[in-house]
Structures are given as structure tokens and as C-alpha cells.
Symmetry: D2
Subunit: 347 residues, 4 copies
């Protein structure tokens, strides 16, 4: 029998992507989807691309009715909105995967620092698992609440994990320059994402204070077993999907390109969604478009002695909905690649 | 046992798309792929997006060796290159689906007129079937050679078929204004498809003499049971994938919007890849991106008494590789949607 | 002494473009600019591209104060908003160029039909001149109110004028398929112009009922000296600037390509902003980007006997602010090209 | 009397941009333009955007004939091609501005290291001046040979000069992450710049070995009065024009945001093409599109103690042809802004 899935917040980009991906999942089925803006309508009115593949009328949201018969709930809501709902779902012993930010940061004070909000149920923070399967797979298997990582953090943590876990680099001199497609900014209309503004344009934003810094430093510190501080600068670029992170670090020991390659190969040996690239095939966002892959290339710059790591993901797949389904697979004991064997759409 | 597939011309965009789609086909498997430029290398060196999903070393092409054990061959070659190969494959009783132009036009003189070339095996033209499943499904079932339609023709013929088959419109006053993404022009480098030229640009090309006119007029004439002459103007627009055709016709009898809607619904009743849209949900190429759907909306303009039909496809899927797989499914007695249950990637 | 210019509605795209172009005008100077959203701020806060070239604090709008010492006022306001202001400016004997729609349509009932609004000062409609210099230059010289044409109408009327004025074509079988960049939709945020929606997309909108039909049919009928009815379908494409109109018409007399070329050359002999192109150099929006040119190519399709005319403009320049300045030049007895000798920005 | 200009290598993007900008220069006139591919044709056949603004038939190139009556020659040629020509022009006492790389690097061995070529006239290297007017204005005034800086170096050196000249930062920990539009890669067709590849894509290239590193380190070392070593990573992004450089450095003394702002204001006090921005108005390539401005914002990140400097230019204007004209103005004693008072085209 298939896993019965409910989606709260189904009208956004990640909601639509969840449905698109789950339509082809052999062991899961979207039973319910809800959102404030589409009550009474079929989900394909909001997501016309899905017409012909699914039909699902959204009902007025009432939590008890909604949760009935569900095995797992995906939440795709703004921060602050998830926490109270997660609590209710958790109490009903239904698994929950939160694509929002509310359960990513484990220390309530840190959450408050980055989100300027008191956490609604701090007692559940330790119950939840940071859902980056390449790092936390064993915990995800047993988790009842999974906090699906942010898009930038996914691209960054996966790029740096082998270096920090092996104490190869200076943990306080990490420069992260990330470039994101516009879907990362969501469906809400803003001056910045109005076509004539971002088209033919590139700019940095939230320099040094993007909220994702919190979860990145938390996870990198865990890996390094010491406090890690990063410089993180996100940029918006005129593409739909994709994040490329270019990360500059300083080795604290002698290292060669061969060492680096070996290190990454061993670290990611059993990770089906990590593809290692090299200097001649540097990660490109278009190679991962529509797929759950994270392409990574660690490069040793002999001239300067620095290491530069590049990683590319599709922010809506490995950076959100695909990773959420990967987490679901792991939570339910399925092969983690189930329903996610998607080559990137190129071109 | 799975259908054993061979692909000749595997390095182009349609070759890559065939492999991408077949990877997830439950009843078919790509066994061999060949091309001039990639001998000795893995197919994923040319198509890095496919890395992790398939591994297939291309061998020096020798037709007998290549055909051994294959059930079907897809050809993705320039016009003139397919015909001799098709003949050899046909003689070995292996099914063949030609994504090129060589078998689309049934009259050798017409082929010569549009392609400025004598046909290499005119005797096989009548053996081959024009592979537009919504029109020729029964013939495709029995076909040994399927000529997969061109991308523009697919979008045009599907948009006009119900009107011409029912003699609703003047068959000599058909204005077709099509807009295509740049993948339609292929992988060959040209001044026109150099990024700085086509980006932020739009222009018409081959006004009144595009080769696709031949197959469109042939098929529309068959549907209308009378000679159809069209005005066809293709345009290049700065998107990767997608064709939008806007078609202007003149009804020869009284008609209403309701009549039109009913006509199209009935005509396409059993066609899983046709999605009918209306004035409020006019076809958009982005709703079909990555999918095998053709979205169609016939609109009656009351003020002027004209009919305007819009159709949108992904030129690499319904306009090429997806349709080729749909044809394969039909030729092998499978459900025509097998492996093609793809919602469009949005955004 | 320089012409003293005031701009009402200075924060939109056409307002910004007016200022950008006027900065380099040798005989005009922007003295005042106003808008609701930017009072108290420098105009370069809304248009950061202009920083360093101009500084102009916007004051609370009070019409008498605003008009003081001005020679001409440009209005860049939504329809319905211009009319009352134009009346006041006109009464003070100050020249006015309205980039909005309120004075383009000469018959109040037609205005009401297309804009669903009673005109605020119908008595001024006959005082105003439709500001398409290539057609109405003599009237513009004497005009006190100039109604600057819409962007689509500019591209359409210029493409068809020689044919209709010379009664070459059937005036009731005119198919106009126009494609516009996204700045044509203005600065207001909409779902349609959100980057992830319109990027990698194309679609038609307002099929058969776009408001520009009114002014196009009015002007074409004047040229043809008989009622002209058009089919007009606008499309949105993912570029910033540019309109390409592809226009399909049926000759009512024998004609050749040479006749067509001669006809257009003669008609536009003294028009410095019309560039005639041919089959090998079909109009491309990128050749006119940032310039006041309208590139036109009339093509005779021998196979079908139809004529197809292509025209390309930059919707913010020849389709709006550049043309407005061209009108100002003519109204003030200057060379019409003054300040507008701009080659297109390519690439 | 106007400066008589000759252009060698007129068919590329920078050649076309030189002509476009010089058309409106009040004190200069393009008298001759030459290139291998367009002999016998008008320059507007290669640059159709310029039609109507200039007419200039390209003649068979013969250096003596070409140089006759010229006051200055611009060279827009690949590296290695300029040097011999520059020598000949220099010997005839005609001023020369080389947009190529041959005279940027002052030490022949360094030139050989980066360009893998012996320099054709090393004796002239000391005669030539690195044409970055904000740094070398006095030398440019007297120069006979100006080596126009590369596009990346312009964006980088201008961003870092105030910090290095004032010894604010660690000169051996400079991370430069640059993103360039596709015109930076020139007009030559490549797989990388084929529209379907770079559209919807981003990737790094030439990590740690891009040729521009040579001139950047040379100039930064001069400013710092000590050896500077940089990490430079260029990326290609899907826009036509624009470079955004994001530069990460480590202060070696206590500093505040106010200090930084003051430092940059003073350093660039008399530089009309430098516009300083701040955290709320971070540089965006679209604000400088088509203009000669370099927008710069130095940001102090309090949380980490690092400095991040952003700079944005149009690679074809301030990064090439605009800067070349700025150099010409200075060499001929004109106001350096003459003909370059161009606000950015937005949007």
C-alpha cells in the first residue's frame, strides 16, 4: 500500500514541485493538498503544468479532517507558520517533513537571532532531525520530524563536509559566494523579481546577514567539531532554477589535487545523489536542472595554495522538494532514490 | 523482457533527450548509442546531465554489429543521412523510427523540392508512416518505418486537424505564425544561435520557404481531403524549449465558441497528450516544458468572425523524442503513455 | 535658451526613459519631475541608472506651482488619469505630450468602448493630434496637445501605412501577430511578469480585445480612407525591450517584391527613423534596442501570393519616450532627430 | 577640427561598440575601419544596428594607406596580433590605444607566462601606459601607446585600489569572484556560448589560471607597493553585458563602515565615472548597462570582521570601448567624459 501524503502550502513553487515529483513515485500518493488561496479549486488551476496527471480539489483546511488517514505531511510554509502545525501533527504520531525553516536551527536563541521570533515549540527542536541525508541518514531513519534544509545550505554543507570533517581547512576563513536562480525567492511578487529588473542583471543581497547563515554554521560546526564562522554572500541571477556555490578555503595542511579527489570520493561513496566533477567538468547548474543531484568539484589552486569548491544543485529539487522526498524515502525504509531517478533536463 | 533500443546520432539534443526519457521507461532499455564525434567515450561525456543514470561506451559504428539483438532503432540524423540507413535496418526486419526528415514526405518530387536532394530509397516512402499518433495511430501500430514529424508540423497539424477534417475553414487562407525556442535549431554553432545574438532578440526566418511547409501541407491536405496551402512564418525566440503556434483561419460556416470547444473535445477524446485550454488559460510553452503534452486552445473572435488556434509543445519532447517514444509504444503494443507520464517542469 | 520640460509620472519605465534621453538633448532640459511615490526624494533613487547624470528632487505635486516656467509637459500616466490634467495644462497654454491613451482615440464613444470610461474632456479630442510623426508631421507642428501613440500601434501603423494609403491590400483581412518584451507591461508587479513565470515562456493574451485595436483601426482607416478591421494578437516574450510585429495581408492587385520595395522607399523617403530591411536582413528587435528606429521589411511570398510585413521597434523608445521627444522636436521647430541620434545597443 | 580615428578589428563586439559611441562624440570622427572579414562592405552590414548613423566601406588593409591622415588608432585584436602593428603605428608618431592584451603587462617574462608567446616588441612595453584613468591619468595624458585594461581587471582594480593604496588589507588573502555576461567571451562561436548551453546556466571557468590575473596582480602590486597575490575565479552568466565582481578581503587594522565610505569617497573624488553605492543600493550590472560607469560598494561585515567590495561595470563600455574613448579624451586634452555622458539603459 502506498504512503499517503498530505501537503500543506501546496500553491508555492516547492508545493508544486513536490506534487510533480510524487506523481511518478511508485510508493507514495498525494492524497490531500491545501493552501489558503485555492480552496474549492483543483490543484491544477494553480499548477496548470500538472493538468492531466493529477486532480485534487483543495478543501477548507481543518487540521483534524486533513490529517485523517495520512502517513506523512509535507509543510511548505513561511517560517513561523510551520511550528504550531508541526506540533499538532507530531502529537497525532504522523510523520512530518517541514520544508520551512522552523526546525532547522536547534538552539532557540539562535532561531530567535536569525528569525526575530520566539520559537512556538522549542521542546520539539531536539526531536527534529536536520534532513540532509548525506550527513544525517541514520537519524533521519528514526525521525518523526524532519527539518528539510534550506537551498543555499544544501549546496554549501555538501561542498564543505569532507574538508571540515577531516580538519583539512581553516574553519574561520571560509568565503562562500553563492548564486541563485529566481525561483529561490519564491512566488511572492517583489520589485526585485519583476522580470525587467532581474533579467539581464546580477546583484548581491543580504550581505553577511542572510538567515541561512544560522543553519550553515550550526551544521558545519557539528562536522568540524569546533565553531565555524562563514562569510556568505548570496547573489540573484537571471535563471529559473539552480544554485552555484563557489567556496574559497585555506588548507591547514599539505594537500594535493589527488588527495582532495580521494577524500571526496570516500566521503560520498554511498551517496547516490552526489556526483563528483573535476577541473575540466566544473559543476554547472544546467547539468542538475530538474534533478536531485548535487554536483561537486573540489579544486586545489597550486599557484596560491588555496582550495576552491564548487557545488551545483537545482534549488527546487535537491534544494527543497526532491530532498524532502529523499527524506521521506529514508523515513519509510525505502530506497532513498525511489521516484528521484531523474537525469537533469538539458538543455 | 525489455525492448532493446539502439540510437544512431546520439550526441545531438534529440539524442540526449531520447536517452533521458528512456532511462525511466519501464519496458525499454537503451542498449547501444552511436555518433561520429564520441567514439570510445561514455555517452555521459557528451551528455553530462545523464551521469549517474546510464553508462554506455560508444563503439566504432559498423551497421551489422550495431543492429545485432536490437528490437528498434531511433535515428537522429540530418536529412539525407537517414534514408540509406533506414533501408538497411528495414531489410533486417528491425523497426525503425526516424526523427529526421527523410520519410515524412510521401512524394519523391515533393521531397526533392523541399530538400533539394534525390531520395535514396523512394520505394520505402509508402512503407513508412507519418508518426503523428493523434492522427495516424492505427497505421503506426503496423508500421515498420515511422517518420517522426517535425517540431513545427506537430504543433501546427494538431492545432488544425479538427477544423480541416470537419471542413470548418477556408483551406487556402491559413496564416501560421510560429515561435520556437533555440534548441529547435540544434547543437550546431551558428551566428544566429550565438548567445549574444539571440538573447534579448526575436526575428522571423525562412519566410515562406521553411522545409516543414512540405509535410504540413501534405498532412493538412490529407485531413481536408483537398489541397491546403499555408502561410508559415517561423520565428526564433530566446528560450531553450518550446514552440507556440498562433494560427489564424477563416470559418466558412457559422460557428460559436461552444461549437469549437465541442469539436476539439470530440476529436481529441482519446488522446492522452492533448490538453484543451480556453481563453483564460491560453497555451503557454512553460506549461509543457519537459513534457509530451500539446496544449491547444481554439478561440472564436466574435468581433471579426475569425478563428485563432494556439498550440504549445516542447519541441524536444512532443516535437521530437517524446513523440518518438510514443510511436515506439504504439508499434510495440504498449500503452502509448508509457514512460511519458511527465508533468511539465514549472517553473 | 533650452526648452523647459516637466514630467508627470516620472517613476515608471517611460518616465525614466524620457529623462535618460533628455539628459543628452542639446535643446531641452528636464526642470521638474513628479510622481506619487517618490516625493521628497531625488529622481535617481527611483532610477539609480541615472545617478551622476541628473539630480532632481521631486516635490509635492501642486499643478500651478508645477507648471510655472515650463514650456512643455510630458504625461506618463495610466489612462483616465491624463485627461483632467491635460485640460488644465492646455488652458495655461503650455504644450503637452501625453504618453497615455486618453487622447489617441478621437471619437468619445470609441474611447468609452475600449477604455470603459467616459472621457473627461471630449471637447479637447479634436484639439489633439495623434503623434505619429511619419504620418501626421504637419499637424504635430501646430499641435498643442499630442497624443503619443501606443507601442503596438506604432509598430503596426508604420508597417501598414504604405500598403493601405496606396490601396494595395484587402482592408478586412489583416492578421497582426505582435510579440512584445516585458517592459511593455510596465512596472506594476503581476503574476504574469514575475520572472519565473515569463522567463523561458511565451503566450498570447487579450486575444481580439486589446485596447490598442481602437487606435490602430482608427489610424489605418484614415490612411485607407475606408473602414479597416484587424485581427490583432499580442504575445509576451522574455526580453526586456522590443516589439516585433508580423503582419499578414492579401494584395488586391498584381504586385512584385520590387514594387513593394519601391513603394516603401518612396513613402518613407523623408523619415529619418524608418530603416527598410529586406528578406536577408529581416527586422530584429535587437538591432533597434535603445534607439528610435523602426525597422520594416515588406516581403512578397511568391508561392502563396500574400504579403508579410515585419516591423521592429524598441517599445520604450520609438514606442514611447523616444517618439515623444521626436514629437517635442517637431512641435518646437527643431530637427526631429535632435537628441535621438542613437544607434541601437548591440548586443 | 575633429580627431580622426581609425579602427583595426572593427567587426567584433568592442569594434562595434567603439563606433556606436564615437558616432555621438562631438570631437572625434571614425574615418576608417578595417577587418579581415568585411572588406568591400559597409561597416553597417556587420553592425546592422548602426545603419542610418554611419556609412563606411572597409578597404583592403594596407597599413601605410590606412594610417594616412589619422590622429589615433584603436586596435581591437586578439593578443599577439596587436604588438607588431602597434610598433608600426608608434613609429609613424600616431597615437594608439590597444584594446587587446599585448601592452598591459610590463615585464616580457610575465607576458610570456600568461600568454605563452614571446612579445614582438618588448622595447615598447615601457613606452606604453596601462590605461586605467582613475589610477594612471597623468601618465595617460602623455602616452603615445595606451594599453586599455581587460574587462575583469577594470572591475577588480577599481574595487581594490583604495584599500591597497592605503594598506588597509592583507595583500595575500584576496578572493575575487567575478561574474561576466557572455559578450565578454567575444563573437567567436563556441560550445560554451551557444545559446542553449549558457542560457539558464552558470559555471566557473579557468579557475586560478585566467590570463587577466597577470595584469591584475601587476597593477595591485603597484598600488600596494608590495607583491599582491590573488585568487580569481571568473564565472559566465546568461546576460549580454556586465561584470559583477564580489571581492573578499581581510582588514589588517581596525576599521568601520564610515571609515570605508570616507576612504573611497576621497580616493575617487575627481573620478566622474565612479559611483559609490552602499549596502542598500549594492551595485547591479543593470544600472551600468550601456554606460561608462563603475559602481562600487565597500561593505564592512561586522559579524565576521571582513570587508566585501562589490563592483559593477558594462564589460563592453567601461570594460573596453568606453574606457578606450575615455583614454583618447585624456590623451588629446579633452574632458574625459566627452561623448560618454551616458546613463545606463534601464531596463
Amino acid at each position: 500500500m502506498k504512503i499517503k501524503v498530505g501537503i500543506i502550502g501546496a500553491t508555492g513553487y516547492t508545493g508544486g514541485e513536490l506534487i510533480r515529483l510524487l506523481i511518478n513515485h511508485p510508493q507514495a500518493e498525494v492524497k490531500k493538498a491545501t493552501s489558503r488561496s485555492n480552496v474549492g479549486n483543483d490543484i491544477t488551476q494553480v499548477h496548470p503544468n500538472l493538468k492531466g496527471e493529477i486532480s485534487l480539489i483543495e478543501e477548507e483546511f481543518q487540521i483534524d479532517t486533513f490529517l485523517k488517514d495520512l502517513d506523512v505531511v509535507f509543510l511548505a510554509l513561511p517560517h513561523g507558520k510551520s511550528a504550531p502545525l508541526v506540533k499538532e501533527i507530531y502529537q497525532k504520531h504522523i510523520k512530518v517533513i517541514d520544508l520551512g525553516a522552523d526546525f532547522r536551527i536547534k538552539i532557540p536563541e539562535d532561531y530567535k537571532h536569525w528569525y526575530e521570533l520566539d520559537h512556538a515549540c522549542p521542546e520539539l527542536l531536539t526531536e527534529s532531525v536536520y534532513g540532509l541525508p548525506e550527513i544525517h541518514k541514520e537519524e533521519i531513519k528514526k525521525a518523526k520530524i524532519v527539518a528539510n534544509p534550506g537551498c543555499y545550505p544544501t549546496s554549501i554543507i555538501l561542498a564543505l563536509a569532507p574538508l571540515l570533517a577531516n580538519k583539512i581547512i581553516d574553519a574561520n576563513n571560509i568565503v562562500i559566494d553563492s548564486k541563485s536562480g529566481v525561483t529561490g525567492a519564491g512566488k511572492t511578487l517583489t520589485d526585485t523579481t519583476h522580470y525587467p529588473h532581474i533579467n539581464e542583471n546580477i546583484f548581491a543581497y543580504k550581505v553577511g546577514n542572510h538567515r541561512h547563515i544560522g543553519e550553515v554554521e550550526q551544521e558545519l560546526s557539528l562536522l568540524a567539531k569546533s565553531k565555524v564562522v562563514i562569510n556568505f554572500t548570496p547573489h540573484l541571477i537571471p535563471i529559473d532554477r539552480g544554485i552555484l556555490s563557489s567556496i574559497y578555503v585555506i588548507p591547514v595542511k599539505d594537500i594535493t589535487q589527488e588527495d582532495l579527489d580521494k577524500l571526496y570520493q570516500e566521503f560520498y561513496e554511498n551517496c547516490p545523489f552526489i556526483r563528483l566533477r573535476d577541473k575540466k567538468t566544473l559543476p554547472q547548474t544546467k547539468w542538475v536542472q530538474g534533478s536531485n543531484y548535487c554536483d561537486i568539484a573540489p579544486i586545489f589552486d597550486e599557484r596560491t595554495g588555496k582550495i576552491i569548491v564548487f557545488s551545483a544543485i537545482d534549488n527546487l529539487v535537491k534544494g527543497a522538494s526532491g530532498q524532502a522526498i529523499q527524506n521521506m524515502n529514508i523515513m519509510f525504509g525505502l530506497d532513498e532514490t525511489m521516484g528521484l531517478r531523474l537525469a537533469g533536463i538539458y538543455p
